[in-house]
């Protein structure tokens, strides 16, 4: 158990008071539905870009990927580089112009304009259900961390943090969520940045760290087997047997980069909502690109601590009922905090975890409130109410969303295996959705019927494979093209299958059904619309220039750690 001192408690209490104060201050500036649900659509590229990344930096992200780096080594970095950067840049350069110009309030809202009501309804309902479940799961994980490492009561910590998020999001909606996400973004860096610095000083620098990791990897290699390299990201991926993740490079490139990551970063409304708040087309395109630079840097505070933990805290194990929480891979980041952070700094470290949790949760509930109010309530329950009615409903649904998330937390607590299942399921609703949005935005022949049925078939495929593997009806080696695939590899291929089935089905159905008239596709589809452009400007204000800079850094990083 970690000992917190008065100075740590001051830092924690100050944080809660501060974020509530920010929500209260912004309340008087939130007068309309657009203010509440889309932050007035007047945010700068930096504000939209940082909150875009912060909404993705949940506590599960920080702890989960440190744990994955401990378990799999540097391969975990793929989820930050190839599993994020190409998709973020694609969103910024190719998709944001259409999202922005169509003036859609959400991704299901775009589907309504492109494919009609049924596709919007399917996407909205699955998004709402999955978002609330994911929010509850994330809350459960946070409650466990605070209970296991700091001795805080599970129920009290859940209630205080959830009530704080509900309060500040209810007061000023997305504006408040975004403002607090940016504050949380800085606190996550302030609280976590010293850990890898301390770690590198202790082990004696990067080269010593590589030596130590290789030594530890040799120690855990069973007799007769060859040691699996943990410090390279591509050179060990020619065959699944050569790396600790059991993953082939094709799974990473197709499953992760092309399907999961593209799906998540370009169609998951939790993150897309942040960039939809941009004030103009230039800000809308630049925001994700700004975010890409920070996304590339996050491995320094997430993956590097996992590697340092592997080198200096040997013996952590996969999570299981037989070991205590402080002995599992998931403990690596909190254990390093305890090892290095003096009182005061430790409080800041705890705040980084809590801030991560709260930013993720605020992202979930604000996205939920928008999709529920605009894409379900206004579309199917009450179509022509006043703006103030929807604003009021947005506030009520925020509190309702937090309440349901808390309820989910206790369901997960009773059936902890649901946690693994739901994380996987959430991802796999996103993979087919990407195929639908991609074809809808870039192929004018794609028909409304194909959009709906393709999406439904893709979702059924992902759920079918998932259930088939879980209940041992389907051999995972067939799904993942590998003799003994890891769970992560199966997840990756499951997403790839869902995407492929949707993609092929949508094309085939389109060929046999009637497309929309071209004039109805203006502003929604490439090829029949004039691509909105941000206008002339000096070179350093051009989004495309910064996208190339970001992409070049991404390529160089992959080559350095090849």
């Amino acid at each position: 158990m970690f000992q917190l001192h008065t100075v740590d408690l001051f830092i924690i209490v100050f944080y809660f008071v501060f974020v509530l104060g920010v929500g209260y201050y912004l309340k008087s500036y939130t007068k309309s539905g657009e203010d509440f649900f889309l932050a007035g659509r007047n945010q700068t590229a930096w504000i939209a870009g940082l909150s875009f990344i912060a909404a993705n930096m949940g506590a599960l992200e920080l702890m989960g990927w440190s744990s994955a780096a401990y378990q799999y080594g540097m391969l975990a970095v793929h989820w930050y580089w190839i599993g994020a950067i190409p998709a973020i840049l694609f969103l910024g350069i190719f998709m944001m112009p259409f999202y922005h110009v169509s003036k859609t309030h959400s991704v299901p809202g775009y589907l309504k304009m492109r494919f009609g009501e049924s596709a919007r309804g399917l996407a909205a309902v699955t998004f709402v259900v999955m978002t609330l479940l994911a929010s509850g799961i994330s809350m459960y994980a946070m409650g466990l961390v605070l209970e296991n490492f700091f001795g805080w009561d599970f129920d009290t910590s859940i209630l205080i943090t959830a009530a704080t998020v509900a309060a500040y999001v209810t007061m000023a909606g997305l504006t408040s969520a975004i403002f607090n996400e940016i504050i949380q973004f800085f606190l996550i860096w302030a609280g976590c940045l010293l850990i890898p610095i301390f770690g590198l000083i202790e082990v004696g620098g990067w080269h010593k760290l590589v030596e130590l990791v290789n030594m530890r990897a040799a120690e855990i290699t069973t007799a007769g087997a060859s040691m699996l390299d943990r410090m390279h990201i591509w050179s060990t991926m020619a065959s699944p047997e050569l790396n600790p993740m059991g993953m082939h490079w094709l799974g990473i490139v197709f499953g992760l980069c092309f399907v999961l990551s593209m799906g998540y970063w370009t169609t998951d409304y939790l993150v897309v909502q942040r960039v939809l708040t941009a004030k103009d087309i230039r800000a809308a395109k630049t925001a994700p690109i700004i975010g890409s630079f920070f996304k590339m840097a996050i491995p320094f505070i997430v993956i590097l601590p996992g590697l340092i933990g592997f080198a200096i805290i040997p013996g952590l194990q996969p999570e299981s009922p037989d070991i205590s929480a402080t002995q599992s891979y998931n403990a690596v980041l909190p254990l390093l905090m305890k090892r290095y952070l003096a009182p005061g700094m430790l409080g800041l470290g705890v705040i980084a975890l809590i801030a991560g949790f709260m930013s993720g949760m605020a992202g979930n509930v604000s996205a939920f409130a928008t999709v529920w109010t605009y894409d379900i309530y206004r579309a199917y329950i009450r179509k022509h109410a006043s703006d103030s009615h929807y604003l009021k409903l947005g506030r009520i649904s925020t509190v309702f969303g937090v309440g349901v998330s808390i309820g989910t937390t206790y369901i997960v607590k009773r059936f902890s295996s649901i946690m693994d299942y739901m994380q996987a399921l959430f991802s796999f609703f996103i993979a087919p959705l990407f195929a639908t949005v991609l074809l809808g935005m870039f192929w004018k022949r794609c028909t409304p019927k194909a959009g709906f049925w393709g999406l439904l078939l893709g979702m059924c495929t992902s759920i079918g494979i998932f259930l088939g593997v879980r209940f041992e009806i389907l051999d995972p080696s067939i799904v993942a093209f590998s003799e003994q695939p890891s769970t992560m590899a199966v997840n990756m291929w499951q997403a790839a299958w869902a995407f492929s089935v949707n993609f092929v089905a949508t094309i085939l159905i389109s060929l046999f059904t009637a497309p929309k008239p071209v004039e109805e596709l203006t502003g929604l589809v490439y090829g029949v619309s004039e691509v909105p452009h941000e206008g002339p400007s000096v070179w350093y204000r051009k989004p495309a220039y910064w996208a190339w800079v970001s992409f070049t850094i991404f390529v160089v990083l992959n080559i350095i750690f090849w």
Partner: protein, 74 residues
């Protein structure tokens, strides 16, 4: 929301919290110079230096983004 944009920039708010935390951690860092905590690397006094970094970062935001100096929303 353009005519009702917050008078205080988000960066100013970031400045407040970074500055307060920086000050707190610097003071605890000074205390730890005389009473070293039981953590690895305590002799480096990185908490003191990190507190100073946060004060400077917070201070820059506070000065540069203070209300009245920057047009709201920028």
């Amino acid at each position: 929301m353009s005519d009702r944009t917050s008078k205080i920039a988000i960066w100013f708010l970031c400045g407040i919290i970074l500055f307060v935390y920086g000050l707190t951690i610097t003071i605890s860092g000074i205390y730890h110079m005389a009473n070293p905590p039981d953590v690895v690397g305590a002799e480096l006094h990185l908490d003191f230096w990190w507190g100073m970094v946060l004060i400077v970062a917070g201070g820059i935001f506070l000065i540069h983004q203070r209300p009245g100096r920057i047009k709201p929303g920028e």
